[in-house]
Symmetry: C2
Subunit: 436 residues, 2 copies
């Protein structure tokens, strides 16, 4: 299978565990059989590999997520990077051009597009194989997955099929309805549009060339910022007469809110937490290095990260977005391609950060104009490069980087260090240099 996973969203709905640079699909919430936890993107990638070890997986995403993807997934995953957000049609066009020009797929190969975040089991991946097969037959230009509704949701668009067979041509599409209309649609045999579909590569490439002026993948990438925002539904689906839909009745859940997400957690707590026996229906997800104690509370979500603490009634949790906007918390931690960092302390003219570098990884060579930095190594071994001079470092070593000095650190083993910044702190005060 050739699968394009659309990975979007800034994920304020799952604050404080998601933030501007960590979307919900990167939060490690699902217990692995092997121990530890995996994120949505790790879970779906593992599931694809289990269904088809040979699958070509490409993540279509924005620049901001690339570090997190490189951190969480295997090295061989393809990434089609959107230089900026331009809605789904340009994104799918870019990913398709990437598959044609970088991955060298032929025009008759089938591509399956699906969002990265639904919570599904193996039946979903079996259905994707069937979707691929249907698209390969060429009876239609697009084959959509139609999900059997489990309740009259107002969150999804609906697909009205011509017949009630396992596959059918599509009669029409309906926008997100109110609950009463949704009930009527369902009585008439409508299916949820989960944004899962398959096509032959040449079809979307042709559509892309019709609507966008570009030569190849590199060219499209270069002019991406100049493209108009337009959805794939509007640009392609609504104008295409030959669309099939394939029914899917297996597990498919959109874990977009704390309420739906905690339903799929296999344990009531993740991280350091204790509940007394008068608690009921309490889910605790604690990423801080301090314990959470809950007493006498019911139907509650407690989520804690370096960015904040949420204490919410489960139902109320779906209304979180405007409050997170009001809090406007800064980014306090992030996963990067080379490891991760966490801000431990923030004062007006200083910043203290714990930095973890993965073995074999290094930061970019860079300098700052208006701040001094000091690294004190906590554990591991590596090499620090300051103004061209390299030194080996290990626990207890100190590296001083006065303002203006070029510096970089590379990890031989997993390397943790405390970085203290003093002076005028500004994220934009960073000049990068070619690695030496």
């Amino acid at each position: 299978m050739n699968i394009v996973l659309l990975s979007g969203g800034s994920g304020k709905r799952l604050w404080p565990l998601s933030n501007e640079i960590r979307s919900k699909q990167f939060i490690k919430l699902f217990k692995k059989d092997s121990g530890g936890y995996e994120s949505m993107v790790q879970r779906v990638y593992r599931q694809i590999r289990e269904a088809d070890a040979q699958a070509t997986v490409t993540i279509a995403t924005s620049k901001t997520q690339v570090s997190a993807i490189r951190n969480q997934l295997a090295e061989d995953v393809g990434i089609s990077i959107e230089p900026c957000r331009r809605d789904t049609f340009p994104a799918i066009a870019l990913a398709t051009a990437y598959l044609a020009d970088v991955e060298k797929l032929g025009k008759d190969e089938v591509v399956i597009v699906c969002p990265v975040d639904p919570y599904v089991d193996h039946t979903y991946f079996e259905a994707l194989k069937r979707l691929e097969e249907l698209a390969g037959r060429g009876e239609a230009n697009l084959v959509l997955m139609g999900i059997e509704p489990t309740y009259p949701s107002e969150k999804y668009g609906y697909i009205i099929p011509q017949t009630s067979g396992e596959t059918s041509l599509v009669k029409t599409f309906k926008e997100k309805p109110d609950a009463a209309t949704a009930e009527r649609y369902i009585r008439e045999g409508a299916l949820w549009n989960g944004g899962v579909f398959a096509y032959k590569l040449g079809y979307v490439l042709k559509k892309a060339h019709e609507l966008l002026d570009f030569a190849d993948y590199r060219d499209l990438y270069a002019k991406y910022e100049t493209l108009k925002k337009i959805s794939f539904d509007y640009a392609v689906v609504e104008k295409e007469p030959r669309i099939q839909v394939m029914r899917f009745a297996g597990q498919w859940k959109d874990l977009g809110t704390w309420n739906t997400l905690t339903e799929e957690m296999s344990e009531p707590t993740i991280g350091q937490a204790l509940q007394n026996d008068t608690c009921k229906g309490v889910s605790i997800i604690n990423e801080l290095n301090l314990p959470v104690l809950c007493m006498g509370v019911k139907n509650l979500i407690v989520a804690a990260s370096p960015e904040g603490i949420l204490v919410s009634d489960k139902e109320q949790s779906s209304y979180i977005k405007p409050y997170v906007d009001r809090l406007n918390p800064g980014v306090k931690f992030a996963e990067k391609s080379w490891g991760n960092f966490e801000i431990l302390d923030e004062e007006e003219e200083s910043l203290t950060i714990k930095v973890t570098l993965n073995p074999g990884h290094a930061m970019n060579y860079h300098s700052h104009e208006h701040r001094d930095e000091v690294w004190t190594v906590l554990s591991g071994t590596g090499r620090a490069l300051v103004d061209g001079a390299e030194q080996k470092i290990h626990a207890g070593d100190v590296v001083r980087m006065p303002a203006g000095s070029r510096h970089r650190v590379a990890a031989d083993t997993e390397l943790t260090l405390i970085e203290v910044q003093t002076g005028q702190i500004n994220v934009h005060d960073k000049r990068k240099y070619d690695n030496v």
Copy 2:
């Protein structure tokens, strides 16, 4: 007035804001008119000074609280330090000997003893003056404050007066009763015993010499560990025939649990916090540098400190103690005589601490056998002394202290620094030296 404030307790009931070394009386929860917050001990000390600017105030407390008291109160407060806990009779005997031998009070001077933690207003201090006056007359050897009960509490001992006058001789004392018995006592005119009483210094000193074998304050201090644990009630009160009680009907509240404490908070939140409009009866006390968001919750306490996060139904919060014992959290922050510290990060072989020194203060000169330490200055100015060599320090400076080196830092202005410890971390690995 000569006031002895008994300051005890390890304060697990107000976890995570109280801990083994910060008792509840040191938590800054009460809004000051001048802005900012004050603790119970700061509040009562300020109230005493307002009632009597000339009062001699002595805090009777254990070693572990001395740093916090020095940090929170004026320099001139007297401290009678109990080398270890030996219940109230040895503590009051020691404090009385301290007043006689260190503060040079005469035998006829009246001493008022009261706990440090009740929440009271100015009427209480007016009553203390009246208590002093009554004790000075010498009609009785002890004059107790009898607090008019506001409900049939099972938490207090009761005093049964002979008459219902403003002052009366005491008929008898009753142990903490059940609620039904308490109701009966109250119908019979009983008063709460809040542990507030006055006596002439010579009286308790005589009792002390009768029961304990010691020469003077220094001698009693030196042999304190050999004393038997015995309460003042058992050793003195129950055996004394001439005891008066004085009624007090003013404000007197024991803020021993989150539930009672939050009732006296003048605002629903302290620290970074946001509640949506579906919250009701929610109190948030947040000492962390990250926001708390509450949504759709009712009658809840959320308390957060570097030691942990409590989310509790208000009523349930009084049952907290066994759960805190189970969590067994380490001490993550403390107020010291020279300033304060907070542990930012803890790994197996490293510890990262933010240290704040008050202007004009210094740590003791000390060394560690098995760990290296590095200071990086965040702000302020001061002087670091390492193996006899002194250097001036300011923001961005780094001081390295390899294992074995003697070191100390003194603050000229408020000085904040990050201390990174690497090696074998053990609180007992500390050798102190005389300051040079």
